[in-house]
């Protein structure tokens, strides 16, 4: 089952003002994959997403998306940022945020076509947000904002969907529904979801990438000791695995460590 790669990251290094965030990272994201990107805070997960999006340029190494440079390919990527609370007081409705996903740089003048509106409404409907389409973004809750941003990513008709901590402001019950929805989307779209909560995502994803300056890719969604060490580097070998088992993942086996 060799599917064609959508993203090829080759030996990429990136530093912020001399502080290395990512070192020698390589990763191939294949079509149809559903990757959880996990790792400690400050481990470079968001940086890696921004490199894939072309918002940052690697200091060393090459990233190609759909065989093109990241700048050219960025329009094929749907992106849901981590911070959905930017500009809460901005005068914009949920509908207009979603319509931003239909932005075509060559088309100017303020004009909203009926077909774009229909498409935006359908995306909102898919996320059960249709009734709130004309609400101002500042009046929505965190979870509702998140859905609006996902709808905005979906109307771009992406081949690849990148979500940065999408469940941060959704409750536990909502999280399960949310990941079910992503799983359904995954039939057509390759998905990378950043999370620092491996347990929440492990039963939905197909593979796991551990990012902590370096990157380790696991071709299946199984929790290994190495992952736990990447996740919780200071508590390796302590009682945390027991805790994890107690929280219940009956079908998964933890390696000894």
């Amino acid at each position: 089952m060799m599917r064609k790669p959508i993203v090829e990251i080759n030996n990429v290094t990136f530093a912020y003002n001399g502080q290395t965030a990512l070192q020698g990272v390589s990763l191939e994201i294949r079509q149809g994959d559903f990757i959880a990107m996990i790792g400690p805070n400050g481990g470079g997960k968001t940086t890696l997403l921004k490199l894939i999006l072309g918002l940052l340029k690697p200091d060393k190494g090459i990233i190609r998306v759909i065989g093109q440079s990241t700048q050219k390919a960025s329009a094929c990527i749907g992106y849901v940022p981590q911070d959905v609370h930017i500009n809460r007081s901005f005068p914009i409705t949920a509908m207009d945020v979603v319509l931003m996903g239909k932005l075509e740089p060559r088309k100017r003048w303020a004009r909203k076509t009926a077909s774009n509106r229909r498409e935006a409404m359908a995306a909102l409907g898919r996320l059960e947000m249709a009734a709130l389409a004309e609400k101002k973004i500042g009046e929505l809750s965190g979870g509702q904002c998140q859905r609006v941003f996902i709808a905005r990513a979906l109307v771009t008709q992406p081949q690849l969907l990148l979500l940065d901590e999408p469940t941060a402001s959704i409750d536990t019950k909502g999280q399960a529904d949310f990941f079910e929805m992503l799983k359904a989307l995954n039939k057509d779209v390759t998905i990378v979801v950043v999370s620092h909560d491996l347990l929440a995502v492990s039963r939905y994803v197909k593979s796991v990438a551990c990012v902590n300056r370096g990157l380790h890719y696991h071709n299946q969604a199984e929790i290994t000791g190495e992952m736990l060490e990447t996740m919780y580097p200071c508590s390796a070998g302590e009682e945390c695995p027991v805790e994890l088992l107690a929280h219940g993942l009956p079908h998964r086996v933890l390696k000894d460590h």
Partner: protein, 286 residues
């Protein structure tokens, strides 16, 4: 008010105030949502350096001032992109330097000197017809440009990263916005003064922002509100013999504080009907 309009200077003052309100309503909306109020203040003050230069070398007033303001604005824009966290400090330095540079050059210029007060508060009561024409052309130009780039400006102002991903030329657009802003500020300052420009750029958009559901609504609302402040302020200045620019700003400031207090009191978010009602009220008032 009607009797005041018999005088040509009052009609000119009213026209100038209304044009400034519309120009500042459009540009001020973009200034407020992009959080470049401080940068605008920097441009407005640094532009005084251009006036000094024009006087000292005997250049024509407008090209000299606009050139200097544009250069200062581009420098500030570049810094605010490159070094986001230090931008406010450096803008503060350029702000002060530009002003001091202008004043010293005017000191060194022999003969008749411009008065700093008229730069600060303008002379809306002595606006010549030619300046009205310049403002009218400027207003039309700004409206066309903003309409043309509306969607890009909206995306950039709301979520710059997303705009870049969608292929909006964010950098060019940002420099363009600041460039137009510099030209606007210089042109409007000569008519209504620096202080009134900053007031009209910030106060109406800030009040309207909470009630508007789109940038367009915010621009229209700010223009109408600015016009209302201008009319009331001019009437007060005529009736009670007050400095016109200051009177307009006082009216704006009082409404600003009232709206601020109302906002503090209200805990629940506004419902749709209330904001619609507020919109109609604003429109009806002006």
């Amino acid at each position: 008010m009607i009797e005041a309009l018999q005088f040509e200077f009052m009609r000119h003052a009213l026209m100038a105030g209304l044009l400034a309100s519309v120009i500042c309503g459009i540009m001020g909306t973009l200034v407020v949502v992009n959080r470049i109020v401080f940068l605008s203040g920097g441009i407005a003050h640094a532009a005084y350096g251009g006036i000094g230069l024009a006087f000292f070398f005997g250049w024509p007033y407008l090209p000299g001032t606009i050139g200097f303001a544009l250069a200062a604005a581009m420098l500030m824009a570049a810094i605010s992109i490159k070094a986001k966290h230090r931008a406010d400090t450096i803008i503060g330095v350029i702000w002060a330097l530009g002003m001091a540079f202008g004043i010293i050059l005017i000191d060194l210029t022999p003969g008749y000197n411009v008065d700093l007060m008229s730069y600060l508060f303008g002379s809306i009561l002595t606006v010549p017809g030619s300046n009205l024409l310049i403002m009218l052309v400027m207003g039309i130009l700004i409206t066309i440009l903003v309409a043309f780039y509306y969607k890009d400006l909206l995306a950039m102002s709301y979520d710059e990263e997303f705009a870049r991903i969608r292929g909006v030329p964010v950098k060019g657009l940002y420099f363009g916005l600041i460039g137009i802003l510099a030209v606007t500020i210089v042109l409007v300052i000569q008519v209504v003064g620096l202080i009134l420009v900053i007031a009209l750029l910030t106060i109406p958009p800030f009040i309207v922002e909470k009630h508007a559901k789109s940038l367009l609504q915010m621009m229209v609302g700010s223009s109408l509100l600015g016009a209302l402040f201008t009319v009331v302020g001019l009437w007060l200045s005529y009736r009670y013999d007050l400095t016109s620019g200051a009177a307009i700003i006082m009216v704006a400031g009082i409404v600003f504080m009232i709206s601020f207090l109302i906002k503090r009191k209200r805990i629940l978010p506004r419902t749709k009907d209330q904001s619609a009602a507020a919109e109609t009220r604003n429109t009806a008032d002006s």
